[in-house]
């Protein structure tokens, strides 16, 4: 049997040592009438060779962003991942170990997380970061819950330019504690959240405002001004970043007044993977540490005074605090965080800045090519590597005809925002070559 080492002889030795003649003697306490009769109705087991060929076939039924030219983003970005990443995270000491409960056997994981926490703080200019959360959407939800705990208030104001699936996730997470969620509408001309609109949307019971930056439409938000407004009401600002590469170029949330910075670090080191696992991050101010969900690694010393690392602030967590924990999260996305760290370190500060500028440049070029082809940006705000355009034909049939040219031409926004029924959200990264962009513009003009 695959993976199970036991020979018949081993089984007899074991049974004898237990003092039973068969497994059934052990399972005596199980309600006999409810035992599974016969075997599970599952396909027959396969040899490794057969398995691999079967799955090769299944994977082949998907078309990849390598085979197609993709301009899809919307929270999942197609970046080049340096080879060092897979090479290092596939070291079994990393990927086959558990959460680092025994620090003597897990200094590698622990130091790596500590470094990851530092990298996230540097990227976001916040004081403290946790070890990871599941993804950007659930991290946003956790941030909202955290803001409620900090402020003791209930009201939650979401920018309607926050990723729709993030908004949905927040709503689901808040079902348990009463939602009190309202939305502040984005400006249909600028494609961003207007400070003025926010002013009208908040009140003294507003725990937090959540804005995404760059937002779902790709637009940059006036984060500093939004911060000022919510802070005046003593609420918190949660800034969501799901294209983390933008932080190579954009002023970090911490410098713009964010109280909690969350988002997704998938862009670093983690492939698209049909949407998961991605990598939720969260960073905040020192004063809020004890309300922060998720694991934390701290630096300390061992009994010989040598630098060492361990999990800390466990009293916030469920295995100590149970129902009074700051969150229920236990297994998080450790290996994804490791991958992100390695990618960030590989780039270094210079590489990251260049990468961000390259992304901006590709997107600006795409904007220009599309404009020339008659497809104009839908909003006036400045953007990073993603933006919204308005098309003349039905976007869905446009996209369909582009597929025939092996182009994934962006995301139709209709299903998320009915008013944006002739709008496409398009992204460009370092993986979109100039030729691809030119061809996209041409085909779009033709289609």
């Amino acid at each position: 049997m695959p993976y199970i080492p036991h020979t018949d002889k081993d089984i007899s030795v074991i049974l004898k040592a237990i003092g039973v003649s068969s497994l059934d003697d052990i399972l005596g306490s199980l309600p006999a009438g409810l035992r599974v009769k016969g075997s599970l109705n599952l396909p027959k087991g396969l040899s490794e060779q057969e398995l691999k060929s079967l799955l090769k076939g299944l994977s082949g039924k998907n078309s990849t962003v390598e085979e197609y030219t993709s301009f899809l983003g919307a929270g999942a970005y197609n970046h080049y991942i340096p080879s060092v990443v897979a090479s290092l995270i596939s070291r079994s000491e990393f990927y086959t170990s558990y959460t680092p409960y025994q620090p003597e056997l897990a200094q590698g994981t622990l130091q790596a997380i500590f470094e990851y926490q530092t990298l996230v703080c540097q990227l976001t200019a916040m004081d403290v970061s946790n070890a990871s959360l599941y993804d950007g959407a659930s991290a946003t939800a956790e941030a909202v819950l955290m803001a409620r705990r900090i402020t003791g208030r209930h009201g939650v104001v979401l920018s309607s330019a926050l990723h729709p699936e993030y908004r949905d996730t927040v709503k689901t997470y808040l079902k348990g504690s009463g939602d009190h969620i309202s939305e502040v509408m984005y400006c249909t001309e600028e494609g961003r959240t207007l400070p003025g609109a926010l002013e009208g949307a908040i009140n003294d019971n507003t725990a937090c405002v959540v804005v995404q930056h760059p937002n779902f439409f790709g637009s940059l938000e006036d984060v500093g001004e939004l911060a000022r407004i919510i802070h005046e009401k003593k609420g918190l600002l949660i800034v969501v970043t799901n294209e983390a590469v933008s932080l190579g170029l954009l002023k970090p949330p911490g410098e713009l007044g964010a109280d909690i910075a969350v988002g997704d670090n998938q862009s670093f080191g983690n492939p698209l993977s049909y949407g998961g696992p991605h990598l939720g991050f969260m960073a905040t101010k020192t004063e809020y540490i004890r309300q922060m969900p998720g694991r934390l690694v701290g630096q300390t010393v061992d009994k010989n005074g040598q630098t060492a690392f361990c999990l800390t602030f466990a009293t916030r967590e469920q295995h100590i605090r149970r129902e009074r924990a700051t969150s229920n999260i236990c297994t998080n996305h450790g290996l994804c965080a490791l991958a992100a760290s390695i990618h960030m370190v590989s780039l270094g500060s210079k590489g990251l800045k260049t990468l961000a500028l390259l992304n901006l440049s590709k997107a600006e070029y795409l904007k220009e090519r599309l404009s020339s082809a008659g497809v104009k940006p839908a909003f006036t705000s400045q953007t990073f590597n993603e933006f919204t355009v308005k098309v003349e034909k039905d976007p869905d049939s446009l996209l369909k005809s582009l597929l025939k040219k092996r182009i994934m031409g962006g995301l139709s926004l209709k299903k998320f925002h009915p008013v944006l029924s002739s709008h496409l959200l398009v992204a460009a990264t370092e993986l979109n070559s100039r030729e691809e962009i030119d061809r996209f513009a041409e085909e779009l003009a033709k289609a």
Binding site: M1, I18, G45, L46, N62, L72, L88, T300, G351
Partner: protein
């Protein structure tokens, strides 16, 4: 005895930031084949970044050595026996890693056309069906990212069910043996947690539940086998009881590795269960995730499952979102797909027979260790266990030796310690879960080591108290970490 553990050369390594040197680039991005944008002109001034303080600059080889050395300070399942109770540290098949790494699975965008994603949808659709068959549930969602996320999902569905009936319920009954995520998730889902004590019986009694249950009880949440490794023998009666009160029976499925092909939770009266693919279904733990925590439910709860659902129409798979009763979504997109691929591969490789054999063998292994160590260490409950067994340090306390000391000493012998001090109901608990992928020889050596340590506890307790002696760092000061928090590097970059 000959210990597995020994001492040898390791390499020291500072923090990555301390290795940085201004101006170094590791892997530089692609060259500009489009005009270089003028960021200062394009981006409003207030939104442009000045610096990236402290961000490290390293060469590629230094990055590689850094993480290689860090890895060498770690102990993984591939390094040796890792009998961490409640965690099902079974072998993570290499072929699953290869498969999960196929570009047809990694380089697909969640929003690409369904027509281009049929392979992914097929894997997911079938995996749902397999999990339903294994658990005896009617429908499964793959969306949750881990066990706790699955718990939240299940509990939110239960809450929503009652809300939609116009009779919201407020309580969830949870035994004191439960994993901490159970009460935490219940709380998050808006419930009040009603704890029930197992009162030294190991399993939950119908009476205890009866005493706690009422018409406000939305669910009883138990773990089966429970965290003591015991089968909840009254589960069917408890199910009947909670059903008679109009509530649901939630089963934390983290311990599913004990009963695959032996019992179906559905047959036992369970209404909701979450699976930990990173336990039962052999996907790696990654030093702390990513995992995946699908949830199976009975038909009555099916309308509440998160969106989107995968449907098969003819030969085509598609994603369906129009489900008015759904609790919505727990994350963006569809779940931890690459983990699903591994679990799918595992199930296909094992087949029904193989899964059953896995559970049977896991039980045999746990009982073997239990029998061979009882007497040397105090058993929490001396009765047949399922896939794990729980000892305590009662016999060692006379010598002033604690569970922690035993655990640390095991490291010197070359083993990862078992889960310690959990479940909370057993003081000084030592929870051993060997899993089915460990051989008799591995267990024998471990048993020898445990016995040798028990002997040392009597003859030379200092050995234990100073343990581990073989590791690079020894007895890490966790108190100081909490008292004088240093949560990031704050030095100045070179």
């Amino acid at each position: 005895m000959e210990a597995n553990g020994t001492k040898g050369l390791l390499l020291n390594e500072p923090l990555i930031f301390e290795k940085s040197s201004e101006g170094r680039v590791g892997v530089e991005p692609a060259s500009f084949d489009v005009p270089r944008a003028d960021a200062a002109a394009l981006i409003p001034g207030g939104l442009l970044r000045d610096g990236l303080d402290g961000f490290p600059d390293l060469s590629e080889i230094d990055t590689v050595r850094h993480y290689t050395r860090l890895s060498q300070w770690n102990f993984g399942l591939d390094s040796g026996f890792y009998p961490l109770g409640s965690c099902t540290m079974k072998y993570n098949p290499k072929v699953n890693e290869d498969i999960a790494g196929m570009t047809g699975f990694t380089r697909i965008h969640p929003y690409q056309s369904e027509d281009l994603s049929q392979g992914a949808l097929e894997v997911m659709y079938e995996l749902e069906a397999y999990l339903a068959e294994i658990s005896g549930m009617d429908a499964v969602t793959l969306q949750p990212s881990a066990g706790a996320h699955g718990e939240l999902c299940g509990l939110l569905m239960i809450a929503e069910y009652f809300k939609s009936k116009g009779r919201p319920r407020t309580k969830v009954i949870i035994p004191d043996t439960a994993h901490g995520t159970n009460p935490a998730s219940s709380h998050l889902a808006g419930f009040k947690v009603v704890p029930v004590k197992s009162e030294g019986k190991g399993v939950l009694t119908v009476e205890a539940v009866k005493a706690a249950i009422d018409r406000e009880t939305a669910a009883v949440m138990l773990t089966n086998p429970n965290t003591l490794g015991l089968f909840e023998s009254h589960i069917k009666e408890i199910a009947d009881l909670v059903h008679s009160k109009g509530g649901f029976l939630y089963c934390d499925g983290a311990n599913l590795n004990a009963i695959m092909g032996i019992m179906k939770l559905g047959d036992l009266g369970v209404d909701v269960v979450q699976f930990n693919l990173h336990k039962t279904f052999s996907t790696p733990h990654g030093g702390g995730g990513p995992g995946s925590g699908p949830v199976g439910v009975r038909l009555v709860l099916e309308p509440y499952l998160p969106v989107p659902r995968i449907k098969k129409a003819g030969k085509k798979f598609k994603l369906v979102t129009d489900r008015p009763k759904s609790i919505g979504r727990l994350k963006a997109f569809y779940g931890n797909f690459s983990i699903m691929v591994r679990a799918y591969s595992y199930i296909r490789r094992m087949g029904g027979e193989g899964l059953k054999r896995a559970s049977e063998t896991a039980i045999l292994n746990a009982n073997y260790i239990k029998e061979r160590l009882k007497g040397t260490y105090q058993l929490a409950f001396d009765r047949p266990c399922m896939h794990e067994c729980v000892f305590s340090d009662k016999l060692q306390q006379a010598d002033g030796v604690s569970t922690m000391d035993v655990a640390k000493r095991l490291i010197d012998y070359g083993y990862h310690p078992p889960t310690v001090y959990f479940p909370l109901v057993v003081p000084g608990a030592i929870m051993v879960e060997p899993t089915e992928t460990e051989s008799l020889e591995t267990m024998d050596k471990f048993i020898e080591a445990m016995r040798a340590i028990a002997q040392e506890a009597k003859t030379n307790p200092e050995l234990l108290k100073n343990a581990p002696a073989n590791t690079r760092v020894q007895r890490v000061d966790e108190t100081r970490a909490a008292r004088e928090p240093v949560l990031k590097w704050t030095g100045v970059k070179k």
